[in-house]
Amino acid sequence: MNQAAAIKPALPDSLSLVALTVAGLLCLPLAYVTYMALTADAAIWSRLWTTRIPELLFNTTALALGVAAGTLLLGVSLAWLVARRDFPGQPLWEWALVLPLTIPSYVLAYIYSHLLGASGPIESAWQILAGPDSHLPSPHSYAGAALVMTLNTFPFVYLLARAAFLNLNVSYEEVARACGVSRAGTLFRVTLPLMRPAIVAGLSLVVLYVVSDFGAVSLLRYQTLTYAVYQQITGRYDPTAASILSLLLVIVALIFLITERWFRQQSRFFQTTGRYRARARRQCSPLGALFASVYTIGVFAASFGVPALLLVQWSVSAVSSGAVDARFFGFVWNSAFLSGLAATCAVLIGLPLAYLASRRPSRLNLLCLQAAYAGYVLPGPVGALALLVIFSHLAPFWYGTAAVLVIAYVVHFLPAGLQSMEPALQQVTPNLEEASRSLGFGTAATLRRVTLPLVRSGFIAAWVLMFLQSMKELPATLLLRPVGFDTLAVRVWLEASEEYYQLAAPSALLIVIMTIPAILLLISKDWRAA
C-alpha cells in the first residue's frame, strides 16, 4: 500500500469536497429535527408528555413486540421447514415465501380492512356459522395492525433464518446427537442458539420497519409515533409538536438500528471458513408432508396469494369500468420519473462517498459515509417535516417542486443503496487500479475505464433497489408532492383511505408487478432493505 500511495497522487480535493458537502446535506434533516425539538417550548413538551406521548410510545412498542413475536414464529418455522425438510413443492416455496415483500404495507392493510372489515367476506362467512349478530374483532385495531405487519414482514426473518440454517455446520448438531441429545433437544439447545444472531438481526429489521411504517397504521387507524407525526404535520399550523414526536421516533429507530448492527457483527462468529457439510433435508412422513404443505400454503395465501388475487379481480373490474384512463398513465409516468431520477441521483451521490471510504479510508471519509446512513433513522414523515421546514426557511425557491421530493427519497433510501454499492467497490482490488495508473491512465480515466465497469452490477442493483423503494414511498410523497404530481402510491392511499378499494387496485397491482422481478433479482444480492 505504501507503494501504491507513492504512485497515486492525492485524489483531487474536489472529490473530497463533494463528499463532504453531500454528507453534510444528508445529515441536515436529522440535525434540523433535533434542533427544532430541543429548542421547543417546555410547555409543549410537558403538554405532549401528559396527553399523547405515553400512549404513542406504548402503542409503538406494543406493535413492534407483537410483530416481532409473530414474525419470529412464522419466519423461523418456515425457514426450518424449507431448509430441513423435503415435502411436495419445497423448492417452489423456498422462493415464493419472499413474495410478500413485494406488497407495500398500505396495500396489504387496505386488503385486510376489506377482508376482515364489518360485512366483509370473512365476517359474512362467520355469520353463516355463528349467526347474523356475531361480529369479528375489527381489523382497525392493535390485532389488525399486528396481523398485517406480521404477514408483510416475516420474510425478513425467514430469509435470514433460512440462510443461517443452510450455512450452519452440521458437525455441531451431529456432536449433540452423538452425545445422546434428542432431535428436538438438538434443535432448541444447539441449532437455534447458534442462529440467534441471524434471527435477532432479522427481528431488528422487522422492528425498524414497523416503527417507521406509515401506510399500514394510517389505513388501520392504529396510533403509532410515525402516524402521529404525520397527523401533527397535516393537522396543525405549528410544526413544533411534530418535531418533538419526530425526535422520539428517531431515538426509538436508532435503538433498533444499533441493535441490528451489533447482532450482525456478532453473527460472524459461526460463519466458519473451514470445511463443513450442509445438512441434508429429511424426507417428511406423509402426515408431516401434509402438515408442512397446509401450513406453508396457508401463510403464503394470507400474505401474498389472496391479496394478489383480489388486486387482480378489482383491477379487472376497475379497468372495465374505465378507471384506467390517460390520467392513470400520467401517475405511472410521475412514479417512474421521480423514482428513476431519485435512484440516479442517489447512485451519483453515493459514488464519491463509497469510493473515498473504500480507497482512502481516512477518518473524515469514513465519517462522511456513516453520515449518509442518517436516512435510516428518518422515517418518511420525519424526513418530510425536516425538508419542509428547511426549504421554507433556507431555499423557498425550491419549495413545492419535485426537487424537494427527490431529495427526500435520496436521503431516505441512499443507505439501502450504499449497502450494495459499498461491497461492490470493496471487491475491486486496488491492484487493478494501480495497474491502470502505472500504464499511464489518469485517476479519472482509471475510474471510468477500470473501476466503474467492474462495479456496474452492484451499482445497478443499488439503483433498482432505490427505484423500487422510491416508487413505494408514501408519507414523504404525500407531504411533498408538487402540484399535479400524484404518484401510484399516493393514488392507492387516497382511494383506499376513502374505501374505494376497486379504484385503488390498478395502481397497487402495478406496483406489485413491477416489484416482483426486482425482488427476486435482488434476494441474492441485498434483500435487507427491500
Binding site: 394510517s218 397535516t234 396543525r236 425557491f397 427527490v406 471510468r448
Partner: protein, 341 residues
C-alpha cells in the same frame, strides 16, 4: 477530474431544470393552479366543467386544508398557486390573517353570496354551506334519543360513536363554536366525553365515519351532512339518517361552516382567478354544489337538494363564520388538552 466535475454540474443543472420545470409557468395566462383542501372527488368535477367552459387549464393540488394553508404560507411569494379553496371558514380566515389572500372579490360573487358567508374584506367568498350533524344508524338509534351534539358525551353512548380525528377542520371549527357558545369547561367536558365514548373509532375521513355507522360498527357519528346524502345516493338502502342537532327551544342551533375560495395575493393571473370565482359562485356553479355534492348552495336563487332539511327553518348557532379564525388556536388547545387523537 474534468469529466466528473461535468457530471456533478450536469446533476445540478438537472435539478434546476426540475425545480423550475415542475413549477407551473407563470407566463401562461390560460392556466390556473388551484390548491384545494377538499376531497378531490368533491371539487374536481366543478373545475373540469370550468375548464371545458372557459378553456382555462386548471392544475389541481388536492390535500388537507391545514396542509395547503401551511404550504401556501411556506411558499410565500414563490408560490405557484393562484387560487385557494378550502372546506372550512376558519382556515380561510387564517389565510386572510397571514395576508395570503388578496381582497379582490368580484362584483358578481359579492352580489351572489350573502355577506355572512364572506370575509369582512371579501378576501374569501363562501361557495357552499354544510351543517355538522349527527348521522345515526336507524336500526340502532331512534332520533328521539338525542337532542344536542353535547349529548354525545354522555356515558350511555360508550363505544357507540364515531368521531373525526383532531386534525379534522370540521372538528376544530365545531369545537370553536361550542367554545364560543358554552365556554371552556363545557367544551372540555364534551371533548373528554366523546373521546371516552369513541374509543378506537376515530377516523381521518368523514366518509369512513358514515361507512362505520352504516355498517353498525358505530351507532352514531359526527360528520358534515353531505357525506350522508352522498352515501345514500350510491347505497339507497343503507340504514342511516341525519339528525340535525340542537334544534330545540333554547338550543345552541346547528353548527354551520362553509367551503370557500380566495385569490392568492401573489398571483399574476388575477383575471383567470376571478373568472373561476365568478363561475363557482354563478347559478350554474352553485347548482353543481347542490346537485353533485348535496351541499347547501349559498347563492340566493339556487335551491338546495329537496332531500336536505330546509336551511330557512334550521336553527343555526349564533357564531359568525369570520370568528372561526380567531377561535381556532384556543379550540385546538382544548382538543389537545383533552388528548384527542
Amino acid at each position: 477530474m474534468n469529466q466528473y466535475r461535468f457530471h456533478y454540474f450536469g446533476l445540478a443543472a438537472l435539478f434546476i431544470v426540475l425545480a423550475t420545470g415542475t413549477m407551473p409557468d407563470a407566463a401562461e395566462p390560460d392556466r390556473l393552479v388551484v390548491y384545494s383542501g377538499r376531497a378531490e372527488r368533491l371539487i374536481k368535477p366543478l373545475l373540469d366543467s370550468f375548464q371545458a367552459k372557459t378553456g382555462i387549464h386548471v392544475d389541481l393540488l388536492s390535500s388537507g386544508t391545514t396542509e395547503v394553508v401551511n404550504r401556501l404560507q411556506a411558499e410565500g411569494s414563490r408560490t405557484p398557486a393562484d387560487v385557494l379553496i378550502t372546506n372550512d371558514a376558519g382556515s380561510l380566515e387564517r389565510a386572510r390573517e397571514l395576508r395570503l389572500l388578496s381582497p379582490s372579490a368580484t362584483p358578481n360573487s359579492v352580489a351572489a353570496i350573502p355577506a355572512q358567508f364572506r370575509a369582512a374584506d371579501n378576501s374569501w367568498i363562501g361557495l357552499s354551506g354544510r351543517f355538522w350533524i349527527v348521522v345515526y344508524n336507524t336500526t340502532l338509534v331512534k332520533p328521539a334519543d338525542l337532542r344536542s351534539l353535547l349529548d354525545l358525551a354522555e356515558p350511555r353512548w360508550k363505544d357507540k360513536i364515531a368521531i373525526p380525528n383532531a386534525g379534522s377542520e370540521y372538528l376544530q371549527a365545531g369545537v370553536s363554536v361550542i367554545k364560543a357558545v358554552y365556554g371552556d369547561d363545557r367544551t372540555k367536558q364534551f371533548l373528554e366525553g366523546i373521546k371516552a365514548n369513541a374509543g378506537t373509532q376515530v377516523y381521518g375521513k368523514s366518509s369512513q365515519i358514515v361507512e362505520a355507522v352504516a355498517k353498525g360498527q358505530a351507532a352514531l357519528g359526527i360528520v358534515n351532512h353531505y357525506y350522508v346524502y352522498r352515501h345514500l345516493a350510491t347505497q339507497p338502502g343503507a340504514p342511516i339518517a341525519v339528525l340535525m342537532p340542537d334544534q330545540h327551544e333554547g338550543g345552541m342551533g346547528a353548527i354551520i361552516n362553509v367551503a370557500g375560495i380566495g385569490i392568492v395575493a401573489r398571483t399574476t393571473r388575477t383575471d383567470a382567478a376571478r373568472r373561476l370565482v365568478d363561475y363557482l359562485t354563478s347559478e350554474e356553479g352553485q347548482k353543481q354544489f347542490a346537485d353533485l355534492n348535496k351541499e347547501y348552495p349559498l347563492h340566493s336563487r339556487v335551491a338546495a337538494d329537496s332531500s336536505l332539511p330546509p336551511y330557512k327553518t334550521t336553527r343555526v348557532a349564533p357564531v359568525p363564520l369570520t370568528r372561526l379564525g380567531e377561535l381556532r388556536e384556543p379550540a385546538m388547545m382544548l382538543i389537545e388538552q383533552a388528548g384527542l387523537r
